[in-house]
Symmetry: D4
Subunit: 214 residues, 8 copies
């Protein structure tokens, strides 16, 4: 439905990944592999002439044929992370969005401790006029709730498995977002950066289809 098939590397052999990659490059000109560890990336043997980009933190590989034309130029998505430890999950979203032609702007370390930083971020964010916002947070999951209350674009909450003690694998962050006191925040599952990117694409696509490419 307009979002590329993503190859989940976990539970697949190198041969199975290569096979899927080649199939997708042939049919779509683009192939994305998620949760691919660096050592396994080394083992992959790709066809000549394919351009690749590998993000180690996000464990994401993007491969494309030279004349690949990304379908969502004109789309704009804002990406926020409460802290640097949330980046592996957020980058899974942003790398995919960029590969699809979306303009992405990223803000990191937008925490409660520094309200000045938060408010300057919100100002910049509004000026960017995003079609959608992805807000990643672990621990108490407050960032997406806060951003959703203060911004009128659609906000997708991406809980991350960052935390400690009870609820620290992302459950507290997820529950907090589900209980949001600012209506309109929606969420994907803990650490599901691919899902957040796909949700953002669905919005971008609808905006572009309806004439919104200003």
């Amino acid at each position: 439905m307009g979002f590329p098939e993503v190859i989940l590397a976990e539970g697949k052999t190198v041969e199975e990944i290569e096979h899927a990659l080649k199939r997708l490059l042939r049919s779509d000109g683009l192939a994305i592999v998620s949760r691919l560890d660096p050592d396994r990336r080394e083992e992959l043997d790709l066809p000549d002439g394919v351009e690749t980009e590998y993000d180690e933190r996000a464990r994401l590989l993007i491969a494309r044929v030279p004349d690949y034309e990304p379908p969502y130029r004109g789309g704009r998505v804002a990406a926020l992370a409460a802290g640097t430890s949330d980046l592996p999950y957020l980058r899974e979203s942003t790398r995919i969005l960029e590969a699809l032609g979306v303009e992405v702007r990223e803000w990191v370390d937008v925490g409660l401790a520094g309200p000045h930083r938060l408010f300057s971020t919100l100002r910049e964010l509004r000026e960017f006029r995003p079609h959608a916002v992805i807000a990643a947070a672990g621990m108490d999951g407050h960032l997406p709730v806060l951003v959703n209350a203060l911004v009128d674009a659609p906000v997708i909450g991406l809980p991350t498995p960052v935390g400690y003690g009870v609820g620290g694998s992302g459950e507290a962050a997820l529950l907090s977002m589900l209980q949001t006191c600012s209506p309109g925040l929606t969420v994907v599952n803990v650490g599901n950066g691919v899902g957040a990117a796909a949700a953002a694409i669905k919005i971008v696509r609808t905006v572009l289809r309806e004439g919104g490419d200003d």
Copy 2:
């Protein structure tokens, strides 16, 4: 942020509800009360000249001044319910959306048992070209996953507390949607029809702002 304040009737006295209603009618021309039981609706004393609409199944009251101008004309949202028992929650969304000027089309009883019905629904839904889709389901929560896989508009999953035994208060439906095998589905909490409406409005507003009023 462009979505009206909603008065939650639970935990408030009739006086407190009336007071809030009048304040919102004065400032916005529109006032919405959620989770308002029929007998308490009877007790409410509203100002003269105010138009009201009360949906008993959704326990929702909408009051507006005669010259209220809904802000989201041109918006289109599709609303689906797996069964009639999901309607109380879905209608909380659709009544609010309609009050705000959005064109809403509704499909009910779109289950797995009748695949023909499902496919005719999907065809009609695509022809409607919605800016967003709200899909409500309890039990196994399959409808939103299925619709998200087959439709390219943004889909908001609304789990409902319909079911039996273990996981039957909406947890199974929620988990199922969070684990969706079709990427891009986002969710709100169980029974949170207000939240689903607010999320849809954020998308509609972005589409309209970017020029999409065809």
Copy 3:
């Protein structure tokens, strides 16, 4: 330990409550009954000359002999509620604190939606120079986290059973406070207003003992 015994009305007969009340009035000059429903309050027969105060929302009865001398004069505690629905729990704390001589100041509806309101509240709160802060919130539990990040007095988080769907009986609020990204917030159990008051008294008492009665 300096905090009065509180009679939990739940699970006790009227006779048992009266008996305990009289015992405490004789020994301490003060008797507090929590979770006492209005109709049962009516049935209680108290000794002549006893002054009583009953808070229906908090379901709390305070009885004292005329010459009762509250022990914590000079203490100052700030009390915040995210919304009015959190008041029954917060008032359980504040009524007890006031009965013990503590100066209490209360702020209600200090949510995320209105950042201006939040910041004016914080300014007033700092001017009050409280020895301790009790912050009550249900749903996403963000208020105590936010206040703890921005105020340097000890903050006691009081999660309340206010919310909807999964995590809506106070679990989400509790988990969110336990996962706080602003270090130093401590919590009591959901709806435990008596516990929050007792924790505040322990701090007040230590401050007063160490000479801090300015």
Copy 4:
């Protein structure tokens, strides 16, 4: 009760496994070892003349004497996996069923994304006229629910520990199957391929006993 004892390799020494294998080969002519890692399989020393088959993905070893006569010839079981990552669990079922003489047909990657593939699978499945169906799925667990709604043979849901975030160790898939909106689906525990095979055998055995060997 007509289903062979299965030796669980986990928590047993090589000697204990060998001892049990020999005992079963002597008494039944067939011995099955589950959850046996490849390196431990190498260490096993089996009697001369025993035929073995080892499935690395399913970590399952089957050993039989040359003249072993499988008891369930004429039985037919269909096996479906939502994705390749579900195969380790499904193959535990199918390898055992084949060893017992049952005719097994397998369909993999029967997801929601491609409805055409799903419907061609269902057509082939009906033509096969299985006595029982085992449907394996992780994540949202939708495949068994869907198949149960559209096929009239008994369907055994086999949830697998495939997924991410909250509910991703098979709990979401299990709950979804337990909440099935299509009545008649039964389930075994997450990853319990041996149990699914045994349940299928009980049905096959009853069909064959009652004359159904066409």
Copy 5:
């Protein structure tokens, strides 16, 4: 798929139930209403000439036209309950099975306390030669595990919400059945008597189709 649609009375008005009943009587000659309270049964107005049967304990209504021909004559299902408190759930299964023409035999109070009773039950059960067994139990859920170990017909575990303390709403019984040490037991959700009946019908139907009507 060969199992009649069952009308869930919960969440429906009397008119909606009557409407659905008439539709099913017209199309199938049989209509089943589950979870129907006695007082609401009284209010139902059925067409002349319709035969009805109402089981108060199971809260189940069965209505049929005079010339209704049950489709599963020749089918045999055994039904066991650990105690009388499990009967409301088991009877939901057995009443439906009988309406469909299946021969049902029932054993109640087949507990651990009296091993003699258990063994005489097992002997009778084997003589009955059932195509399927439904075993209902709450508390520790042991009966289905025990029966599955000692009988070679397919056994469907039906956990019931009978118990006390932690795990007493059927969770302990369900978990115990999912962890069964005797392979081959399958389960439906807690209290899902309709699902157990549907699962039994799927087996009966397969046996009958394959020639097993002795």
Copy 6:
């Protein structure tokens, strides 16, 4: 209280273990170390003349001075394990009991599959006339429930972390025992062999004190 202090090796250095061992040998003549891995046991340097016994499966070390006089001679405890995988936990109990002078008899693999074996075990067990019974089981936890129903000595259920899928770390076994349909079964936590031994000693001690050493 008559039960020796047990040194938990987990989280202690070799020096800390040695130090505690020597202290206990001096004061009591007996020292017990639990959860001690084989390689760490090798590193321990014990005083000359101390007799030691190390059970690798139970990871338990017992050290005593030559003239140590065990205090509970005359005590009799029966120990049952549902399967061999439960032995590591049961042996933690039995090795300690033997070191304290209790006569222990052990039965392993007392499952449901072989009722003959179960009944011969029960007969032998009754002839042994134990003061207490420890029954260890994982998975569905049925053995302790069954034994408690059929034996009149006190039965201590010891759930073990043996199982698969949901509830497979001992939760299902624990819940099943807590929901026991045969009254009088008590339990300790999952895998707590030390606790089960201590509970048995409390009973043995009371029996012996009251004159029961036949």
Copy 7:
């Protein structure tokens, strides 16, 4: 097994209770009904000459024939409750024990607040020389842990559903007892007073059988 069958009134009609009562009076001379509400007790019609005792707090009825001879004279059980709200559960145990001839001594309100009271209780308790101790507690469940550490008789922890907020239905008390830092404490399920009595009887019976009737 030496413990009388107890009739659980919940889920039974008055006729079914009467029938069971008469059967037990005929066979054993004693009949016990648990969880029997006062109004239903009024409706029961018992045979002439039967002596009855009804404890409203424990909702327990004991009926016996005039010449009933209690079997466990000489047995001694200590019963402790952390607070009066735990009494309904503890009394279920003690009323049954007394009916069976056991000498029961009871201590109530043995909390942490008054260490003097706790220590005088422990002294009296030791002088009583009980064969077993039942210790009931809700909330943090500390009493049984404390008593088990300081007394050498077998202690049975009886968690009660007394508490507030998260874990307040007895889960916290149960978990706390299962995690006891004083080895040897065993537990029954939350509120299972019948089970605690049965466990105590098993110990008493073993002591008496082995000669311990001093």
Copy 8:
């Protein structure tokens, strides 16, 4: 807010840690790194002249410039651990407090087994007149509850992930503290030593500000 920023080493590279350390040393003269493994501590390259202290058990590094002036001299905090296995978590608190100038006194192994030791500890603790108490405990979490009942300073409960079986990762300890029967105990999340230190600082700071430096 008066508490230093703490660098969480988990999820950061050595370079990122060094960078943050230098930034904090420059701005505050003090830098704290938590959850830093010994081998990674070795890799860190710090500026000349910086004084460091590394606690291996707590995995905590404290670095300061030579003329750093700790801000909380005159503060007094008592620190208690139920056992040595709780020390890694408690020391995270105490090392930070000491670095900030607070006088810390520590008591370890303050269990229930030795009531004499407990009471001598409480006497010493009262003589120390702490501004706040941090009490760490795993398993049943009783120590903080007990101390809170017997001491009038504010007590912060620090649950630790020490235990076994169900609830043994700190959940039982946390729940037990949340259900405390002695009012006034507050808690931080499991293993959150940094949070406990920050909470203590907030109290110390308030006491010192209000004049309490005796």
